[in-house]
């Protein structure tokens, strides 16, 4: 029976016992270069800001703010929650899809997540109903840069690593996106100069380019760029 009382609980739990995919830890790592000490469930949407040097090391280097919006919830949430989430998907600049490497279903849900975020403009009521079918054409003319990040790499046993990484490579190809696999509790995966850090930099640069330079508009230094991290497995970049 439908209850008027929403079933959201906000308990802080130790990482050892109960965790989700790890978006909040990832956002914290990206924005503050530190490991999140006490992850708890994300209710609604939480934001963090990263200061990014566009075209670092070149004469055209410029500093931008990147807003990372981490939208909580699951892809199977009630439609009222989905309608509320839809307000966060306005004019997205880029999308980061986050999935759990130890849980195959979370990567399968990524398709539904990306549909929810991308199709938002096509559905006037704001409530999106999908049957989970994946249509490659919808991604063919997608202008929004995508990045796929797999978390909890340390929990994959050495022997299975190859199989898991092959699967995620196919997944990233489906989305026509780069992929990064890491462990959010260890900052060394994103250490300066590592291939992951380079991929991340390139992705943020691409987003900034799409937002500012392709429109041939004025480049306002230090202007902010919004990115959204959506629901259980979706993060997106968003600019207003």
């Amino acid at each position: 029976m439908e209850s008027r009382l929403l079933p959201f609980c906000h308990f802080p739990f130790n990482t050892d016992l109960i965790t989700g995919v790890g978006k909040s830890s990832l956002v914290h790592l990206l924005c503050q270069n530190q490991v999140l000490g006490n992850p708890s469930w994300t209710v609604g949407c939480s934001v963090d800001v990263r200061v990014h040097d566009y075209k670092e090391g070149t004469p055209e280097e410029k500093t931008y703010y990147i807003e990372l919006w981490d939208v909580g919830g699951s892809v199977g949430s009630a439609s009222s929650v989905k309608s509320t989430r839809a307000v966060f998907y306005n004019s997205v600049n880029g999308i980061i899809l986050v999935h759990d490497l130890t849980n195959k279903k979370s990567s399968q849900n990524l398709y539904r997540w990306s549909l929810e975020a991308l199709n938002r403009d096509l559905v006037p009521t704001g409530v999106l109903v999908t049957n989970g079918d994946y249509d490659r054409e919808q991604f063919a003319d997608n202008q929004i840069p995508l990045l796929v990040i797999g978390t909890k790499l340390d929990q994959i046993h050495e022997a299975k690593r190859h199989e898991v990484l092959t699967r995620t490579a196919f997944l990233a190809e489906d989305f026509n996106a780069e992929e990064i696999n890491l462990d959010c509790t260890n900052p060394r995966y994103l250490a300066a100069g590592s291939s992951n850090a380079v991929k991340l930099s390139r992705f943020f640069d691409k987003v900034i380019e799409k937002r500012y330079f392709l429109r041939e508009g004025n480049q306002i230094p230090g202007f902010s760029d919004r990115k959204r991290f959506g629901g259980g497995t979706l993060k997106s970049l968003h600019y207003d």
């Binding site: 016992l17 209710v43 949407c45 200061v51 009222s80 929650v81 979370s106």
Partner: protein, 423 residues
């Protein structure tokens, strides 16, 4: 000969129930998770299968299908198996999976799970003491002892859920209670939410810039660690880090506000959907049912014993089916709300335990709803339990639960419109 035919019918139906439980587990409960331990799925399906078989036997009893002696045999066997599962297997596996999640105890999993199980058995046994449920002439591990305790837990659960359901069902379905929600309300709330997010973002930008300049200047904003660190932070505190803590506090307050606004917006959307649903044909039908059931529930709260003797087989069947369906739906919602990839095994097993106990006590209580002539088999199989105690206990908990739900919903209903009127 007839015994063989009867047994084969029973076994076929049990396999069917097992399959249904398996499918429900895969398609509904675990559709977002990967099943890595198949033993969990097997246990859940087996519990479900044997619980449904008990109800099937009741129906067979009423319809007088199958031979009466084979019915009796299957009752006993079913009961033994279910008690074995509920008292030995499921608690042990719950302990095992809890211990597996804790990294410290991973090595000696078996030992610790046995310890947990022994603790559970101790409390389970102690449960029988304050209740006058059994005459002392039965042995320690007899069916009656186990059933009586399982019955107490299950009956309490049932009464709590029924009490809450009896109050919540009319409240949800009757349009009288639905507040009027317009699109303008929702838009206004969304605008507030986005404004709050913007404020959070601007503060975080300041923090990020401050941290960056501090980092570049060489003052690292570390939390004071160790003895000397604390002394140093008392005497010299960089102005940058002081600012940061202040802004962080403001951000925390704003984030709490944004969470509240998000929940309120989702609540408004849910109410709006319910209003739209109530305008459809299905909605009107359920609205009418809601009125009907609310009258029935109110009547049940006040006149429990009067017509019980005369409820026919059809109503018994309806009660069984709706309680199974209602329980599965409630369990699913509960599961979605609180589980995650690490705890999913433990939670599913807990749900299987609750489901088993719930069904066993349904059998105890359904005896009250059955016409006299069909009660004998249950009395025979379950032995000398004090059935009257269970009925009285159910009534008491039902009343308590219903009254507290009324109070709770009244407070929640009163609070809500004021929250939205305030600018």
């Amino acid at each position: 000969m007839s015994f063989l035919i009867d047994s084969s019918i029973m076994i076929t139906s049990q396999i069917l129930f097992f399959g249904f439980g398996w499918l429900f587990f895969m398609r509904q409960l675990f559709k977002d998770y990967e099943v890595r331990q198949y033993v969990v799925q097997v246990i859940f399906s087996v519990t479900f299968a044997f619980s449904c078989t008990m109800f099937e036997l009741i129906i067979f009893e009423i319809l007088k299908v199958l031979n009466s002696s084979s019915r009796y045999f299957h009752w006993k066997m079913n009961l033994c198996v279910i008690l074995l599962i509920l008292v030995f297997m499921v608690p042990f596996y719950i302990g095992y999976f809890i211990v597996s999640n804790i990294r410290l105890l991973h090595r000696q999993r078996l030992l610790f799970s046995c310890l947990l199980w022994l603790t559970f058995m101790y409390f389970f046994w102690k449960l029988g003491d304050p209740f006058p449920i059994l005459s002392p002439k039965h042995g320690i591990l007899s069916i009656e002892q186990l059933i009586s305790r399982v019955g107490v837990i299950g009956v309490t659960l049932m009464a709590l859920l029924s009490g809450f359901g009896a109050v919540n069902c009319p409240y949800t379905y009757m349009s009288y209670f639905l507040r009027n929600v317009t699109d303008a309300d929702i838009l206004a709330l969304e605008r507030r939410l986005l404004q709050t997010m913007d404020m959070i973002i601007s503060k975080k930008k300041r923090m990020a810039m401050t941290r960056r300049t501090m980092f570049q200047k060489g003052e690292v904003h570390n939390k004071p660690s160790g003895f000397w660190g604390m002394i140093k932070s008392v005497t010299t505190s960089a102005p940058g880090s002081e600012n940061l803590t202040l802004i962080q506090q403001e951000v925390d307050a704003l984030e709490e506000l944004s969470r509240q606004l998000f929940l309120e917006t989702a609540d408004l959307y849910a109410t709006k959907e319910r209003i739209e649903y109530s305008k459809t044909f299905k909605g009107k039908y359920f609205n009418f049912l809601g009125y009907f059931f609310s009258i029935y529930c109110v009547w049940k709260i006040f006149m429990v014993k009067f017509w019980s003797q005369h409820i026919s087989f059809i109503l018994v069947g309806i009660i069984i089916v709706t309680s199974i369906r209602g329980l599965l739906i409630t369990l699913t919602k509960f599961f979605y709300a609180i589980s995650s990839s690490k705890s999913s095994n433990v939670i599913v097993l807990l749900l299987a335990q609750i489901m088993g106990m719930y069904f066993v006590s349904s059998v105890l209580l359904i005896r009250m709803s059955m016409p006299l002539e069909y009660r004998t088999i249950i009395t025979e199989v379950l032995g000398e339990l004090q059935f009257n105690f269970y009925h009285r206990w159910f009534d008491v908990i039902f009343l308590v639960s219903a009254l507290s739900s009324i109070l709770f919903l009244y407070l929640a209903h009163k609070q809500a419109p004021e929250k939205h009127m305030a600018p």
